[in-house]
Structures are given as C-alpha cells and as structure tokens.
C-alpha cells in the first residue's frame, strides 16, 4: 500500500497530456509586464523609473516587508512605464513594463550549465541569498521561500519535505523539471537542508510519475539524508498539510503552520530556483510553465521569462484553438480562470489550461440530497454542505465553529457533488466574512 493523506480526497482524471515533453526554451519576448505583486505578502517597491536601462537579473523592485519578495528584470532593455496592468487575479495592478533590447545578463550570474555540487554558503548566507533572489513558492502559493527557511525562535524543524506531487490534473512542469534537472534539485535540497539545519529530507512524488520516482531515487543514492517517497495518486496531496500527513503522518493543528509539527515544505521547482540562486547567483525571473488542454495542438512545457504574455505561450503551443471557452491560469482544480490571455506569466504560474466551450460551463444546480459525499471528500474533515448553508444564511458564528477557516479551497467538495452545487463558491465567501470578523476581534 502506497502512502497517502488520511482524510478525504478525490481522484480527478489526470490528463497529463504534456507529460514527457522536453522543456522548451521560449524566445525572449519583445516586451514584458512584470507585476509588483507576484507573491503572498506586501507588493514590492519599484526601484526603476521610465527610461531606465535594465539588464537581465537586475533588481527592479525590492521586498517591502518581512513577508514580501524582491523582483528582478526578466529581460534587458528600457523601462517603458510603470502602469496598471490586468493580471491573473482579474484586477488591474501595478506592473513594470520593459521593452526588450538584446539579451544582456547581469555579470554576476553564472550562465554555465555545469553542475556545481559544492555548497560553500553558510546557513545564514543561504537564507539571505534565497531572499535576495526573490524566490517564492513556485507550486502556486507564492509564499516567500526565505520566510519558511527562517525557523521562528522556540520552534524546531527536523525534516524538510519537498513537494513533487503535482496533484493538479494536466500540469507537468514539476514532473519535467524533476526529469531534466534532477541533479540540480538534489543539490538544491542539500542547500535547503543546510539552511534549515536538518539532516533529513523527503521528496514526495505521486505514483503516476514512476519515471521521476526512479530517476530521483537513483540520484539520491549519492546524497545523504534524501529519501524519495512514492505516494498514491490522490488529490489534493500537493496541499502542504496533506503532504506532511502523507509523508510523515503528522497532522498540523487547526490554524497552525507546518513548523508546528517540525516540518518545512518546499516545492521541487522552488528547490531548483534555490540551487540557481545559491550556486549560480541567478535570481528568479524565469520558470517552467505547462501549456495544455484537450484542444491544444501541441501541449508543451516551456521555460519562459516572467512577464511574458500568456498569449505568447499559447501561440507557441499551436495557437488558441477554435471554440475555446475558458483559459485557466494553473490547473483545473485550483487554477484561476483568466479574463484575458494578455495577462503576464508570474512567478506562481505553473500552467495554462485551455478549455473548450463545451467543458467550460457548469451543470445545473439541484437540491442537496444529503448524500454526504462532500463530507467524505473533504481532506480537512469539514462539512461542506453545512458551511455552504451557513454562509448562505450569514450564520458566521456557526461557520467559524464549523472550522470554515480550515478550508484549503481544494474544490474536492464541488468536484464530487452529484447535485453540482457550488459548495466552494459559498465557502470562499464565508471564509472572507469570518476572516474579517476574526481580524476585527483580534484588533
């Protein structure tokens, strides 16, 4: 029996259409829009102004708080303007727009492809470098990576868990990265272990990526303290809480962080970025993005610069198919539907999913038949049917009592509901309200 998390979960059709597609480097775009809010936390402060010349990798916006991140220029060229630009959230937000001229990289970046296994940086230097490189969680949560590496006083971390689960259907960017950059991920893991001061790391990978499990298991033989943990395919295993539970059987208490159970979780893509930052002095300005969908003619994994319009990626994958109804930034379970394909790639963009018109509409909502399938599916052990009703009736006390704030918004409830009820829509709304009430009370 393969390990997995203990409560709930669903198994959506995997549809990994772009699996095995080699990472293709996209040409540098003619112009990029780099949003200053690409991470959880405070938006960064721009350091450049209109007319400035920038190089690839040059710091263009600096971290504006403890939970915030630096942003570096993904291209070389001239800053056109700093303006409000539509991003994946559907809102217009501030971005730095740069017109590309050539491809001149900052001299400090080591561009040689040679693997550098010797870690000279001290733990403090590692945390500093990860922070300076603007690395955030590349699985999609975009939480600044250096914050997780700074274990708060009084807490102890004894294990690093790497997320190679990629439980979202369709997405293959992490899978392909593990296949092509396995050695770098191993070194990155060692760097993170050194930064955290732990001697044990577990890389959790779902069993639908047998090649990656085999590849990394072979590589791990040469590195001490790294285990590969194959996991049963079960959504949402990539959720931090579920992954820790699956790998080491520890459950994070309600409202707490992984460090509470002695664990820190990083995505494998993030780990690769850490390798590049510490060993190659390369900040985070490009990433692997899966472009996929049943109607896409060439499902692909692209290495692309941050700020590239999504439309450029779709074009490179064969163009926007006729009869497209929806374009999703991310996977089908937790991704965001985009209102325009001109929005830029950001640090958190793991994939672009093109959905045909016929599959982009929801079914008609019927009465709740109390089948309790949402309760069985919820990985947090909540009662989604009840939280939906409580949110609808504005009964915030009982919603809070029902642990609405524990919801990780994985969508398993809505996915499984036979009556096609929009459970998560209501719960999300309720979470917003209850969150406000709790913050008001704590003031």
């Amino acid at each position: 029996m393969l390990k997995t998390f203990s409560l709930g979960g669903v198994h959506p059709a995997e549809n990994k259409l772009s699996a095995g597609q080699k990472i293709e480097v996209l040409p540098v775009p003619e112009q990029v829009s780099v949003p200053i809010a690409q991470h959880i936390g405070a938006p960064s402060e721009p350091l450049v102004k209109k007319g400035d010349t920038v190089k690839v990798g040059q710091l263009i916006a600096k971290s504006a708080g403890f939970v915030s991140a630096n942003i570096h220029s993904p291209v070389s060229g001239i800053v056109q303007k700093i303006d409000d630009v539509l991003d994946a959230s559907g809102y217009k937000r501030k971005a730095i727009i740069i017109k590309t001229e050539g491809d001149e990289w900052d001299e400090s970046i080591d561009r040689s492809p040679a693997l550098n296994k010797t870690i000279v940086a001290s733990p403090e230097e590692i945390v500093k470098k990860v922070g300076a490189a603007g690395i955030v969680g590349l699985g999609g949560a975009t939480f600044p990576a250096h914050v997780k590496l700074s274990v708060p006083p009084g807490k102890k971390c004894d294990v690093l868990i790497l997320n190679g689960v990629e439980c979202e259907p369709y997405l293959t960017s992490d899978h392909q990265l593990m296949m092509e950059k396995g050695e770098e991920i191993m070194v990155g893991t060692q760097i993170l272990m050194k930064g955290l001061g732990v001697d044990r790391a577990i890389i959790g990978i779902e069993n639908n990526k047998k090649d990656a499990i085999e590849h990394l298991t072979n590589l791990a033989k040469d590195y001490s303290g790294i285990e590969i943990q194959p996991l049963k395919v079960q959504y949402p295993q990539g959720g931090e809480k579920q992954l820790i539970d699956a790998c080491i059987g520890r459950q994070i208490p309600s409202g707490k962080l992984p460090i509470e159970v002695g664990a820190v979780v990083q995505n494998v893509g993030t780990t690769f970025a850490v390798y590049e930052a510490v060993q190659k002095n390369k900040p985070l300005f490009e990433r692997v993005v899966t472009v996929t969908g049943k109607s896409v003619s060439k499902p692909s994994n692209f290495l692309t610069r941050v700020g590239t319009p999504i439309s450029t990626l779709i074009e490179a994958a064969g163009g926007l198919p006729e009869g497209t109804g929806k374009v999703i930034g991310g996977g089908p379970m937790m991704g965001k539907a985009l209102s325009s394909i001109e929005v830029p790639v950001t640090k958190g963009s793991s994939g672009v999913l093109v959905v045909p018109e016929a599959e982009s509409k929801r079914s008609e909502v019927q009465n709740c038949i109390r089948c309790s399938k949402c309760v069985s599916a919820c990985p947090m052990g909540l009662s989604p049917y009840l939280l939906m009703t409580l949110s609808n009736k504005a009964m915030w006390d009982r919603a809070e009592e029902g642990k609405i704030m524990d919801c990780i918004e994985c969508g398993s409830c809505s996915f499984t509901c036979p009556s096609s009820r929009p459970l998560l829509d209501y719960i999300r709304f309720g979470k917003g309200k209850v969150g406000q009430i709790i913050r008001g009370r704590n003031k």
Binding site: I252, G381, L424
Partner: protein, 341 residues
C-alpha cells in the same frame, strides 16, 4: 476574440449526478425484485407496477399542477420510492390501497416538505407505516412464496386460506405468547438456509436476504453508500439478539433468525441508507444505525408488533438533525501526536 468564461475553481466536475445515484440504487434492487417476481408471481408484478407508476404520476401531478414548478420525475427518485414502497408491502394488497400508500409517500412524505432533499423521513416508509396503521388486516395478510404465484385477481376465501400464512416473526411472537419454546417454534418454520433465499412469508421485496446482499455489494462497489449504516444496523441487531439468546435460549430466538427475517436486510441496506433522511458523518451514521438496531429489537422482542424495522428507521430519522448538530466528522489535525523531543 470571443469572451472567455470566468468562474471560480474548481473548473472540472467528477461527473456524479443525482440520476446516477438514484438509478444505481434501482439497479441494486433488481436481484431482489427478480426474486420477488419469482416467488410471489402476479401479485408482486401488480404491486410493483402500481406502486412505481402511481408514485411517479403523483410526483408529476403535484409538481405540475399544485406547486407549478419544473418536474423532476426524470431524476429517478420517485421510481425508487415506488419500488421501495412496493418492496415493503404484501403482494395480495388491493390496488386502491397501494395507490393511497403512494399518495401518502410522495405527497406527504416528500413533496409537502419541498421535494427531494428536504424530506426528514423516508417517504416510502411514511407510506408504508400509514398503510400499516390504517389497513392492519390487509397489510398483514402474508402470501406464501410459490403457492401464491398465480393468485391475485381470483382471491376466493379458499385460495386465501391455502396461500397465506404467518411470517416467521409473527409465528415466533405468537408461539412465545402461547408458552412454546423457541426450538419448538423453529421446528415449524423454514430453515435458515431457506430463509436466506427468501422461502418464507413477508413483504414483496424483503424476503430474499441473499439477493438484497448482492444489492449491497453493488452499492458499495459503485460507492453509492458506505458500509457504516448497513453494518451498524445488522451488527447491532445481531449482537443485541445474540445477548438475549445467550441469556435465555428458550424465550429469545437466535440472532441469525433475527437478521434473516422481516425487514432487517431491506431496511439496513436500502431504507436506512436513504441519503436525505440519514446522518452526514460516519460517526453519526454508526450511531444512527445502532439506534435503528436497538429500537428494532425492542419492538420485536418486547413490543406488541412482531416487526419493528420501519418504526425504528422512522424514529431514528427524527433524530438525524440532532445527530448532525452534535456529531461532527473527524477533523484534520484534531488528534495531534506529540512531537518526539
């Protein structure tokens, strides 16, 4: 470019539907239906057809002309209610009584509360218990398997006398009251083997335990229900009657007798598991199932009715809101293992 649809996640659906679940249960009832038609012949056919057709018709009429809402008869729930009601009735029941039962089941049991999903009690059982109280004679006239196959429209007193008899549970109750011992009564009843295959008097669909268990396997495999309710109902009846049997085997029948007779299998597998009127959490389901088991045995052994499954389920249906209010599913991170220092 055409506009893109923007909606919150998730953007995919598992494809489950109300229809799939309802027709899934109907399919699970087919083996027992086949046994019923084989044993009770014409009577089973008339009762089943009348019940299903009138349930569907009443739902359609009420929605179209009384409530003036879009009809939902195609979701299969009315067919299911009709089938389950038929399964709970003896096969000599006159057509007009069946129609009244269907009207009560659909009209009062289901539509008066707002239709599928809103009924606090199992509609088929509401219909059944209404009939049992209103027409006690007709509702306890039990045709015997095979002997009753070709009679329904030609029920002369002679035929009635020759083709009906007491159910094992009624025979047991009467025998004990007359001072006979359990083993003396058992000698006059079918063997456990015969009971398992349904060779005894009883309601149309309840007799064939084996066939109902095939239905259970199908329901579990298709993930339409979980094991919690059927296992806790059957298990608690088995344990409770087992204890009584051990205490005094002369007065209390064996637990195998209790789970093979009457409506235990039908009730545990198909009636108590009705989505709408059962609890939402696994712990709640077990509590509810044990409640049904205990009340059933209390009625059977100490009450005045020989059978109590229907009443037990309806009583526990009434407790479901309370169970759901206080019994919550197991939460993530609830039981925290202390970290090794």
């Amino acid at each position: 470019m055409n506009t893109l649809t923007v909606s919150p996640s998730p953007h995919v659906h598992g494809g489950d539907s109300v229809k799939k679940n309802m027709y899934g249960v109907v399919i699970a009832l087919l083996p027992a239906l086949a046994a019923s038609l084989y044993y009770f012949g014409i009577g089973a056919l008339v009762v089943t057809l009348t019940s299903v057709v009138s349930c569907v018709l009443f739902e359609w009429l009420i929605q179209k002309y009384l409530l003036r809402v879009p009809t939902t008869v195609s979701d299969g729930s009315a067919i299911l209610t009709g089938l389950l009601l038929a399964f709970n009735m003896p096969t000599y029941l006159p057509i007009w009584i069946i129609i009244i039962g269907s009207l009560v089941a659909i009209g009062i049991g289901k539509m008066s509360f707002g239709g599928l999903g809103n009924n606090p009690f199992n509609p088929a059982l509401v219909g059944r218990v209404f009939l049992l109280i209103s027409f006690p004679v007709q509702m306890t006239l039990w045709p015997k398997p095979f002997e009753s196959r070709f009679s329904y429209f030609n029920l002369t007193p002679d035929i009635l006398d020759a083709t009906t008899g007491a159910t094992p549970l009624a025979a047991m109750k009467e025998g004990i009251a007359n001072g006979e011992t359990v083993s003396q009564i058992m000698d006059k009843l079918p063997s456990f083997n015969e009971m398992f295959f349904g060779l005894m008097g009883g309601s149309a669909g309840e007799v064939a335990a084996g066939m109902l268990l095939i239905g259970l396997v199908y329901l579990l495999l298709k993930k339409i229900i979980t094991w919690h309710i059927p296992v806790s109902v059957i298990g608690s009846i088995f344990i409770f009657t087992g204890i009584l049997h051990v205490v005094d085997p002369l007065v209390y029948a064996s637990p195998v007798f209790h789970i093979l007779t009457g409506g235990v299998m039908l009730g545990a597998i198909f009636m108590a598991t009705d989505y709408v009127s059962s609890p939402m959490s696994n712990k709640g389901m077990i509590l509810y199932g044990v409640g049904i088991g205990v009340i059933t045995v209390l009625i059977r052994v100490f009450g005045s009715y020989p059978e109590g499954v229907s009443f037990a389920i309806l009583i526990m249906n009434g407790f479901v809101p309370l169970i759901d209010r206080y019994i919550k599913p197991k939460r993530f991170g609830e039981s925290v293992k202390p970290l090794k220092a």
